[in-house]
Amino acid sequence: MASLRQIKTKISSVKGTSRIMSAMKLISAVKLKRAQDLLMAYRPYSDAYQDTTMNVAKRCDQKWHPLLRKSEEPKKLHLVFITSDRGLCGSFNSSLIRKLETYLVTDTESFEEVAFSFLGRRGRDHFGKEGLRVTSSYIGITERNYSEISEKVSTELTNEFVKGDSDEVILVYNYFKSALTQEITYEKILPIESGSEGEDEILVDYLYEPTRKGILNDLLPKYAQVRVQRAIQESMTSEHAARMTAMENATSNANDVIKNLTLLYNKTRQAMITTELMDIVNGTEALSKGDE
């Protein structure tokens, strides 16, 4: 049986850990709030942008802009994989990584080439070792720089797409459903295509001002940027939520451990007292027998 002193040290170390974790939980809660506010403000903007772009794309022939080019047989796939930089956020990264690994095995057979971009250290570190074709990776994405980073990333993606170095671009990230649920999401952002093809509605083409070409040149690259930024924001918000939940669970686990250890400590202490008492009683009895 462990000595009293050992148990005591263990209790105090678990207590320390639990304090750190509950502090991390509070920090995550604050960060989550901020990220969530930014996300909730950005969602209507990106939804409106998407709506408009889809409506334009529906009315356009794919020859009118390189970003609308849809390949009959897409050969080159580009996956943009968004994870977090840091761990301690439960299954946030690991389930995403596992999902992507299965996806790579089952869904990418028809492609001859798969290239990757990693946003976030975790994904890069995991897949970086496997000798995949990595076009770019970004770490250190924060609330302050995500709009610049999304611009850089989307410029890279669109340039590559226009040059013909990729036929399809898919974003993989955690979509923020609520503080408790995050959903792994695949989103094809290039080529830009409207989801509702083959509908019978009669489409009146837009009047474009100044010119259709000018509008497409403005709207479509910006759309790619908006989608990337949205995904980054969704992922960041999800990360804070996941960390908050993970830390909450960890804190309550630590408290359970403390409870058990304290129980063990008390039991051991009582056992020791009993042994000591028995020693004393035996001793006195032995002495009194000797007197007779």
Partner: protein, 86 residues
Amino acid sequence: MADGIHLQVITPTALVVDEQVDEVVAPGEAGEFGVLPSHTPFITTLHTGELKYRKGGVENKLIVEGGVADVRDDKVNIMTDGVKED
């Protein structure tokens, strides 16, 4: 169709305007343009400039910093990088 136009002015950080109005005048790339109900689908990029909208005789003004205006089905969606109250 005479119930006016649904105007939305959206920036990356806020939904600035979301209401039913009678008329919108916006600073398009090729010059200022006005939108009344039953306008044909129309899309344009915007200059930085004054966006005016009228609702029941009251005129409101905003400064929009570029962006895109999407006019369709009696809806005007303006996606802009930022707005300033006039």
